[in-house]
Symmetry: C2
Subunit: 270 residues, 2 copies
């Protein structure tokens, strides 16, 4: 049994490309349709209701293009929209919260786990709940870090500004004695260097992108949905805004130029 | 002749409240309908096409509520969308670019004028053109400062981070010997302190909010559109996202709580 239909990967914008890359590396035979809702990015400061509406429109767009599974590669959409959407979807789906939470529970010795993310993700409590479901005795310390996203997009990861911002946001974690920190936003792996330096060598960082790619492979395998083609696959990138910014910043995320980039209108796809 | 219809003030989100406040102070008899497109904020990283579509939907929404004039209190929308929209509107309209440019030309002695704003505003060249129309010999130096908006919204205006970011963005202006700087984004007046300190006392800062309020008063006066009621007027705030964030951050901008705040759906208002 082999299934040649593509996998849909959805994000509010550019950050989900870290998840795209991890999936493409782990499952090189799979064709991926990536949708970035760049006309309405960011989701991290918006309400559950608005994020749910946007996520639903995005899922419908990808479903109409024949995907066999949906990966929501945006922490905010995974936290706020996926739980209610999941039951309605005709294909298997996966967010980034559960994989990140599972990996953190596996890596942590003390059970004291930190989580950083956008305002909306942290306010939702989704990571805390997912961690507690896996490890009921875990102690979770969480903080929103709104300036990390613009710092990553500006390419300022290695600056004195990034160090100062990280020190400000992460100061309280030292007292909580965590041994594991979940990077609960797809942009944050770009700041891994400075976050790791500020937290110190005793704390392990969990990058949800890799964890999500591993769980996606598992999900497809169990469902008999893996492709078995040979030769190079053709990925496709859709964005909702016409700006050249996605191509520019996106190539920094992927480390290569983005081919087959197309602008689409998804509003009203309900 | 008196006209009791409200003035419409539109912004991509919260920043336009600085313009709202300036108009409310200068024209205390005027009722204002403020619309913040918080479900799609920010506009500053998006394309001309997308910003134009959003601005048109917002204008239609306010027109259906009977406004007598439209003030586009967002630099990005003023730069990218207003020029093409202006001819279609059945009421007089005004952006923030022209008033800021006019004031800068009046204040500058040397004719060397700086402009800072979002990526989209700076890339559009709208300030440069507006300044040159008023003062053909002006030399304009412009720079995008993407991190200023999140710094202002985080309430980090008085921090060491804000100082470092301002020093980074503004370093090149010293060599250009400007004597006037346009704060070409409605968020930037919140960072006036640190921007002024980094630029030094020889450079005057132009806050478009006040300049826009003065031109709005002029526009209404010439058109016989001023109100003459007595007693307190009731302003109304509309937002497109349900988040409590507008109320929270907005009260920091206005220095008082926002009464009569309502969520609306404006998509498809074309």
């Amino acid at each position: 049994m082999a299934d040649s239909r593509p996998i849909g990967v959805f994000d509010s914008g550019i950050g989900g490309l870290t998840v795209f890359r991890a999936i493409a590396e782990r499952l090189p035979r799979e064709r991926i349709l990536y949708l970035g809702d760049t006309a309405r990015v960011p989701y991290g400061t918006k309400s559950r209701e608005t994020v749910s509406r946007y996520t639903r429109e995005s899922a419908r767009f990808l479903l109409r293009r024949g995907i066999k599974a949906l990966v929501v590669a945006c922490n905010t959409a995974s936290a706020l929209a996926l739980p209610s959407l999941q039951g309605e979807l005709p294909v298997p789906s996966l967010g980034v919260i559960e994989p990140g939470a599972h990996r953190a529970c596996r890596l942590s010795r003390s059970g004291r786990i930190g989580v950083i993310g956008t305002e909306a993700t942290i306010r939702s409590g989704a990571y805390r709940e997912a961690i507690r479901r896996t490890r009921a005795d875990a102690e979770v310390a969480a903080a929103a870090c709104p300036l990390f996203v613009p710092l990553a997009e500006e390419g300022w990861a290695e600056t004195e500004v990034a160090r100062l911002v990280a020190e400000t946001y992460l100061a309280d974690f030292a007292a909580r004695e965590i041994d594991t920190m979940v990077l609960g936003c797809t942009h944050y792996p770009l700041l891994k260097g400075v976050i790791g330096k500020v937290l110190g060598p005793g704390i392990r960082l969990v990058d949800s992108a890799e964890a999500t790619a591993a769980e996606a492979a598992d999900l497809l395998g169990k469902g008999g949905l893996l492709a078995d083609g040979e030769g190079a696959v053709e990925h496709h990138f859709y964005v909702t805004d016409s700006s050249s910014r996605f191509g520019e910043v996106g190539s920094r995320f992927l480390g290569m130029p983005l081919a087959r980039l197309e602008q689409v209108d998804i509003t009203g796809d309900l």
